[in-house]
């Protein structure tokens, strides 16, 4: 257990990434405000990206931009995670734009952003007759 904790301390970046991920996940699941849900989604994705980018980092490495006269001694970090995270960031911003558009529509239609309230409103309407 102590060894595990030591390892976790050494992998502190990963631990922080998991913390971000948890906060975002909880916001996405439990926050009732639709807008905060979207922000939570972004934070959760950032956590995943941080986790992925940490995997590419090499202590003492340099960014993988080859200088024209590169010496042999230079060690470059792994470019793969950076590329994958770049893909992920683009996906994430597209998703949040889509979610925000949904948010705007929901608010314009039902005048509320509260998800629980939204469901209540719907069941209320259903009891009242045809929507």
């Amino acid at each position: 257990m102590a060894a595990m904790f030591d390892h976790l301390l050494h992998n502190y970046e990963e631990a922080a990434a998991i913390a971000l991920l948890s906060i975002g996940f909880c916001m996405l699941l439990f926050d009732r405000n639709l807008l905060k849900k979207v922000i939570g989604l972004d934070i959760m994705n950032s956590g995943v990206f941080l986790l992925l980018a940490d995997r590419g980092y090499i202590a003492g490495g340099k960014a993988p931009i080859m200088a024209e006269a590169a010496s042999e001694a230079v060690r470059y970090v792994n470019p793969i995670p950076a590329g994958l995270v770049l893909v992920g960031i683009v996906v994430s911003v597209s998703m949040s734009a889509l979610m925000l558009a949904l948010t705007v529509r929901v608010y314009q239609t039902y005048r509320t952003l509260d998800v629980d309230h939204l469901y209540m409103l719907m069941s209320h309407r259903r009891k009242g007759g045809r929507a």
Partner: protein
């Protein structure tokens, strides 16, 4: 370097928690933009300048703008829980009609 990175990480987690607990949506949006900027700096310490540029432009810039515009569109710029209660009642009326 490690100390710097730890400070950034603490700032990042702090921003995330703050986003989760603030009441006004506008505050959450502003803190989220700050979160993105901190993340961009963190990408540089991780030797990923491509990511830093993209995060600064896309995460802090475009996503922040879109969030702000959403608030603007919904007229929620400076409103908090009390106002939302009022809106909720209004919505109930709206639902009954």
């Amino acid at each position: 370097m490690t100390v710097f990175r730890v400070i950034l990480l603490i700032g990042l987690v702090g921003c995330a928690i703050a986003t989760a607990i603030v009441r006004k949506p506008m505050q959450a949006v502003i803190i989220y933009s700050a979160f993105s900027v901190v993340l961009a700096v963190l990408w540089i310490t991780l030797e990923a300048p491509d990511l830093a540029m993209t995060e600064a432009a896309v995460g802090a810039g475009v996503t922040g703008t879109l969030l702000y515009l959403t608030l603007r569109r919904l007229n929620l710029i400076d409103q908090d829980e009390a106002h939302r209660e009022k809106m909720r009642e209004e919505a109930d009326e709206h639902g009954k009609v």
